[in-house]
């Protein structure tokens, strides 16, 4: 058993009065769920299974309901994260003002990508949606503290200060070693950070042409095209796919 889990009962006992005070602010105790999860995340660095179980018992909800709710919100980390969570804006206003170059600098300097944590557990990096500071692009948050008008020099200074332990914003609590990502995706798939994944990665969407791919072309046909209004595009695809098909036919012939 790890130290965090051992320490959890004491933490829960300590926070219980605060949880009760939160519940008292609302007409329905369930409203306290988000504030309680914020409270536990501030102490443990992430929303642990123990915290969710505690909330379920405290608010008389099923653990599944609690986890389902927590999983909806991107600011709740269900796995441990780095001490500095760097959330850089990728909204339209920042993007047309050079956000992509800023993203590249972060990725290069940290050696990680979107939704990943460095091996030393110091940094977690995420490119997030509009942060409502579009007048000072590119903006970001460090553990939810805003940083505006990023420049390459400012980024270098920031990362050096964080490594040296002199950065102004306090590091997140870290009670467990983080993994490669904090996102929990079903079926071991690549993390997208989305609320709802859609059927993006269906490997063989049912389609009459038998030319299913992962690009979404056929699926859109099926959504859009009730009366073969886009027959042309299917032809276009047949042309595109033909070399592979011919190759398959040829290899089939060869095996006989």
């Amino acid at each position: 058993m790890n130290e965090r889990i051992e320490a959890f009962p004491a933490l829960a006992a300590e926070l219980k009065p605060q949880c009760a005070a939160i519940v008292a602010q609302y007409e329905d105790p369930r409203s306290a769920l988000l504030p309680m999860m914020h409270l536990f995340q501030a102490r443990e660095g992430f929303v642990s299974p123990e915290a969710m179980r505690f909330a379920a018992e405290f608010l008389d909800l099923s653990p599944a309901v609690v986890e389902s709710t927590v999983s909806f919100y991107t600011l709740f980390f269900r796995r441990p994260v780095g001490k500095y969570v760097l959330q850089v804006c990728r909204g339209l206003s920042c993007s047309i003002s050079g956000a992509q170059a800023i993203h590249k600098i972060f990725r290069d300097r940290l050696g990680i990508g979107h939704l990943q944590t460095t091996d030393d557990g110091l940094f977690s990096y995420e490119e997030v949606e509009c942060l409502a500071a579009c007048d000072k692009p590119t903006c970001m948050q460090v553990n939810l503290d805003f940083v505006y008008s990023l420049t390459p020099e400012a980024i270098d200074g920031m990362i050096a200060a964080m490594r040296g332990g002199t950065y102004a914003t306090a590091p997140m609590a870290q009670t467990e070693t983080p993994g490669k990502t904090w996102k929990v995706e079903q079926g071991g798939e690549v993390a997208t950070g989305r609320k709802s994944k859609g059927a993006r990665d269906v490997s063989a969407p049912d389609n009459p042409g038998g030319l299913g791919d992962k690009a979404g072309v056929i699926m859109l046909d099926r959504i859009v095209d009730r009366d073969f209004a886009f027959r042309g595009r299917t032809d276009e695809r047949v042309v595109l796919e033909r070399p592979a098909q011919i190759k398959e036919l040829v290899s089939e012939d060869a095996s006989h």
């Binding site: 329905d28 991107t74 909204g91 939810l144 993006r200 979404g216 072309v217 886009f230 695809r237």
Partner: protein, 432 residues
Amino acid sequence: MAAVVTPVLTAGIGEADLRDIGVYRKRGGYAQWERAVRELKPADVLEACDKSGLRGRGGAGFPTGRKWSFLPKTDAPRYLVCNCDEAEPGTFKDHMLLEETPHLVLEGMLLGAYGIGSHHAFIYIRGEFKTGYDIFMAALADARGAGLVGKDLFGTGYDLEVTVHRGAGAYICGEETALLNSLEGKRGEPRLKPPFPAVEGLYRMPTVVNNVETLAYLVPILEKGPEWFASVGTEKSKGYKIVSVSGHVEKPGNYEIALGTTVNEIVEIAGGMRDGRKLVAVQPGGGSSACIFEEHFDAPYDYESIAKAGSMLGSGAFVAFDETTDFVAAAHNMVRFFAHESCGQCTPCREGGHWLETVLARFVEGRGLMSDLEMMKRVSSTITGLNLCALGDSIEPFLKSVLVRFPAQFEARVLRDPFETPTGVRSSGSSG
């Protein structure tokens, strides 16, 4: 109308520390609150709100007084919820109001709650606004200490409690019924309407959800009278509006203007275009709005004129684009946003957004199909209007507007190599 900025809500920001309750009160702060509780009936506040012609500043632009009037005339408990879940791409006015003038936000909430006869008001603050949350909590504590919030206010026997609720990262929680679900400790998924929140909202009780800016305007409306507010603006768009100007302008920022100021004048107020470049498109009302172009740059910036130009005023997020803009990348960016934030309840939004994003991602890499262009223009009819909330309907307007206006930019990204598939895998010569 001249291109002028008229600070009303933004008055004093940058000059005085309005977070300090003493400073705020010295400038006349909470005077309207005290006057309302002591001298006015809730119906008087409602009447002032109605007469002023104030319309919702969060996006939909619905007349605030009418929204309040939908509440049932019973003694049942009712709630006021202030929507501070500002996340519409390009909007940053509530963020500023919350951090710079939290007492004005609070006073507006108190007046709104009094106007609808509520004894419990909530403010839902976007999870990312941790700093704003801390500032507002401090302001609320000061106001409570000064006897402005709580029981038996000013000795009149009127009680009003305020609860601050922090979100945790979800654009959709700005939609009022999703916000209520989130406030109830649930997933932030929009509800089926009707019943509207005015009939069955928070805890299934009558509820009014108003934007921060909307509620804040109640303070000057009560101070200077509804006639003052209604005297400004255009026929159906009264008063002032904070416009969040960003993009390729010289001085991006929040500018408070009279509604009806023209699009060109707003660009001028924001210092003109950066590096003397040319303005080619404006997204006038946040990520959900279609772009407007040259032929409408002299249009007045008000609800009707912008709607007539084929877009919407929305939350007042004004993004200016110059001729160097890559509209393919911009469209992909916008669609990706909605795909990312779709709650997943409704199939057209969940699937439509994801597939459109996938197709646009191919265009960004120069691997689009010619037929995709036509398809993307038509796909809206299978996404828009078929969802519980407006998020699904927001996917297409920006994309369609730039696709129709700048077809050459999209055509230039169409796949040229006949031996390459849209997925990027070369068919010929691959190992199979």
